[in-house]
């Protein structure tokens, strides 16, 4: 059978592969090359070695956005997972209207980042001005808090769904047996439930980490990086270096930053892969 299918590769593989070359491989390789160039358009690129990387690594704003992103990722990952897990616990505990709650909490996931950003910008600016505090665009701390609230609001539902699935897959016998043995609610939670949903926890943790790290739309719409790039995250910093600056040198810097960013994301994913693999061995 394998032989028979093999002959049909132009039909099965070629369309996807061709599109993949156009939509990924070619731009990727070209992007890699351009990170060593000074260019305004691809036609007019001159090779300049590692200059772009040297600049990118010495750019204070880039590092600021890196630390801002890192802090944001940590805070949002912890908050989202803890709250999502708590809600999932409550909803699997035969609470009235759990379907309704699940529906409501999941809803924001379907709304796009740009739209969400504006909804929350309007809301938070109004709250801040009622409290007579500076608006989002003036204070990076409020920008940070705003982004965190927005991300929690959007992502808790998604993670909650995954946790609910994890919790529901724990056989009832385990919990019944523990109850008969006189285990307290806390013991059941920490000894049985959490160890059994470890795979879900790993998945959710890495999903929130990558989502936080790559965040762009929400950042653009909610704060736009204001004030003076202070609430700019990595993806937006790269975008701004690339498009908001004029002059041939900036595109190269932006592309070099993008390569560095890409490497960071790959490293995170490799760590994730390792985690998932080692979990699979244990089970």
């Amino acid at each position: 059978m394998e032989k028979a299918i093999r002959k049909y590769w132009p039909i099965f593989v070629l369309p996807t592969l061709a599109a993949f070359c156009v939509g990924f491989i070619y731009p990727f390789v070209q992007g890699l090359y351009l990170s060593f160039c000074k260019f305004t358009t691809i036609k007019k690129a001159t090779f300049n070695g590692l200059d772009n990387y040297v600049y990118a690594l010495h750019d204070g704003e880039f590092w600021h956005s890196f630390w801002f992103t890192a802090l944001f990722t940590v805070v949002s990952t912890v908050l989202i997972n803890v709250i999502a897990f708590a809600i999932a616990l409550a909803l699997t505990n035969k609470i009235k209207g759990s379907n309704f709650f699940r529906t409501v909490f999941f809803m924001p996931n379907l709304i796009g980042g740009i739209v969400l950003g504006y909804i929350w910008q309007i809301l938070l600016n109004c709250v801040l001005s009622l409290l007579e505090k500076p608006l989002l665009a003036l204070n990076a701390t409020y920008g940070f808090i705003g982004l965190t609230i927005l991300m929690c609001w959007q992502q808790i539902g998604y993670m909650m769904i995954i946790y609910i699935a994890g919790l529901q897959s724990i056989p009832d016998d385990y919990i019944e047996a523990a109850k008969i043995d006189g285990a307290t609610t806390g013991q059941i939670l920490f000894r049985i439930k959490i160890p059994n949903v470890m795979p879900s926890i790993t998945i959710c943790t890495f999903l929130t980490i990558t989502n936080g790290f790559k965040l762009f739309d929400q950042n653009l719409a909610l704060t736009g990086g204001e004030p003076a790039h202070a609430s700019e995250m990595l993806a937006l910093n790269i975008y701004n270096t690339f498009y908001s600056r004029s002059g041939p040198q900036w595109k190269g810097y932006g592309q070099a930053k993008a390569v560095i960013f890409c490497i960071m994301v790959i490293i995170i994913s490799m760590i994730q892969l390792k985690f998932t693999k080692s979990k699979e061995v244990q089970q």
């Binding site: 093999r6 002959k7 590769w9 592969l17 070359c21 491989i25 070619y26 390789v29 070209q30 890699l32 090359y33 305004t40 358009t41 691809i42 036609k43 007019k44 600016n125 001005s129 007579e132 500076p134 608006l135 665009a137 003036l138 204070n139 204001e226 004030p227 003076a228 498009y243 908001s244 600056r245 004029s246 002059g247 041939p248 040198q249 595109k251």
Partner: protein, 442 residues
Amino acid sequence: MKMKKVLALGLVAMMSAAAFAGCGSGSDGSTASEGGSNGTATADGSNGQVYYLNFKPEADEAWQEIAKQYTEETGVPVTVITAASGTYEETLSSEIIKDEAPTLFQVNGPVGLANWKDYCYDLKDTSLYNELTSDSYALYDGDAVAGIAYVIESYGLIVNTKLLEQAGYTVDDIASFDDLKKVAEDITARKDELGFAAFTSAGMDSSSDWRFKTHLANLPIYFEYQDKGIDSTDAIEGTYLDNYKAIWDLYINNATCAPADLAGKTGDDAENEFASGEAVFFQNGSWEYANLTDKGMTDDELAMIPIYIGAGDEAKQGLCTGTENYWCVNSEASEEDIQATIDFLTWMVTSEAGTNMLSEQIGVIPFKQAADTTNLFVLNDRAYTEAGKTPVSWNFTTMPSEEWKNGVGSALTAYAAGTGSWDDVVSAFVDGWATEYAAANN
């Protein structure tokens, strides 16, 4: 087994083709793009088309109309796209790489030209260049004419003279910064009784912040240049920043709204406040005339006076007059498109419809067949010059980058809201200039 080898080879070839094209896409890239634009040109059954990336959001409607009119008259398609305020460079740099790139764009002067000179078609032998009234309105790149100024504008403080009279003053009472301060603070003191404020909101939204981070910032730069006898610099000293602070304080403390609310105020807010008589002074330019008259204001209640900041010889200070709008024709466009664009521009500056639109909507146009203007603010500027006052030149074309302007703008906003200090503004102004100048010229 054989199949497998062929496959592997094919894949390797594909990958290396991708890699190779990535390294040296020079030739095939340009042929592809020429093929593309030729294709569309012939598909439309004409010899070229115009795509104008417009810089002025306030003139968007007028451009759309005039483009339609031109297409009706000549059959040449003209597309006008307006970049959102503050995003012109961003839009241009992502549009210019496309097959159907803008055939017509603009730069703001020498600094802008430095970034885009590779794309500027030499306009020296064109009909458009011959229409210019003076060579000084052309932007040169060596001997080549890279850009052509299409409008000379003035800005200053627009005054609602009726309200000023109600407050007990006339335009002639204001001839220096001290006068302005006295009048403004007096109006603020009697705000409740009078029912209006001195200044419109100095909105720092991106639709309005250029009035302060660029136009107002021109004044301290102008006076510093005057003192030193230079016309550009790699490091600004900020000798007149105290005056900048004084005028900014005056704006924000005597406005229609609290300083902390300025961050979210838009250009429209200020315009509406002024048009509905909520404030006496409104810093803006001659391009605003059409908007104000559309909103029902008449010539006898409007006037434009210089922005006094308490520097230089105030008795001789005129309005700020100059240009930061140079048309450039994209040299990468196809021959037909370049010709079509030049024809369109020539029509704009020679035909009645074109010149009328330009002078009514924007201001004085430096072309031989220019229609005479009815724009009151332009007439104000002429009167000042005839009275022996010196116009303040536009030096913000020498500001090192957009980034510098944004830095000053953010610092001004933070200062107004009380979350930042004036030192931050000074640092964004002086240190920011040095770093940005170095970054732009390295």
